[in-house]
Symmetry: C2
Subunit: 170 residues, 2 copies
Amino acid sequence: MSLRHALLGLLSDRPASGYDLLKLFETSLANVWPATQSQIYTELTKLDGTGLITVAAEGPRGRKEYAITDEGLAELRHWLTETRPQRNTRSDVLLRVFFLGVLTPEQARGYLAELIEMSDQGYENLRRLMESVDWDDDDLSVYGRIALEYGLRFNAMRREWAEWAAGQIK
Amino acid sequence: MSLRHALLGLLSDRPASGYDLLKLFETSLANVWPATQSQIYTELTKLDGTGLITVAAEGPRGRKEYAITDEGLAELRHWLTETRPQRNTRSDVLLRVFFLGVLTPEQARGYLAELIEMSDQGYENLRRLMESVDWDDDDLSVYGRIALEYGLRFNAMRREWAEWAAGQIK
DNA sequence: ACTCTACATTCCAGTCTTGACATGTCACCA
DNA sequence: TGGTGACATGTCAAGACTGGAATGTAGAGT
């Protein structure tokens, strides 16, 4: 259950409402840990209930601005330092590769060609994002840029692999 | 819901029991689409119910050997050719990177050092697997090797990225 | 005869996730 | 004043996933 920690992480930077957080998920975190609106609001209510966050202010339109508590920050630090990432990564993309044998070689190469295109687009999107953001020196900027670099390298790697793979067929 | 297609894919190679499939998931597919025993048996029952697979033979100890039907094979091909992979990939590893700012630089570098080690171990495990399997010319061998190569490149990429990232801190 | 391991399946409670539906408010502009 | 779009939250059903408990059989070795 890392959604909890994703929310704690975002709130550790600054207080925010559910709506704010939803926007943050749609932009910065979308590639790493997608979450829907209903999930976010549900989890915020739970976090509030367990005292890891608290309603710091209320605004117009029923806006509730949540802030992380000391307890929440401790939980976030604990997650970062004491627990190992081990979420089994599921890859829709790679799963299909295993079964390309049921298709014709042409179709299989077609699938890999789509992956190449997908990787190129992913790369381009991230490159544009990299340029559009004006990076500060604050923590989220530094580590956001590091995560973005990961995305760039990942897409480049996948592209090259898909090209190599297409050459392996038949 | 790709577990369904993972099972169809494995059964397209040869008939198998739930137990056989569980073993296959534990070995070959574990890195790509992990599934638990209860999930597999539940899904097999559903697939049998919708006619995509059928009980081809019964063996000792209540063993039920499932085989893919023509309808199932059609569904598998449809999934491979007509639907685009778009499963949002969740990355526990990368999510943490976003929030390393709440730690000290030393702790953050410590996390990246663990990622380096994790990547090295992943690489080594796959390299050993690559050597231990005696690869045939059949489809699952060809595409299994291609998927394995992906894993090797992925781990190498992640290692290099983590090294670079550690240098970016502070 | 006995025991142990691998084989083999079924069921369940609880949680996570998806994709809606429902409801209402504020600010701006025409 | 009326309409629109962004702001803002809450709830629900259905399906996916986790982790475990329960149950039993066949075969291989001692």
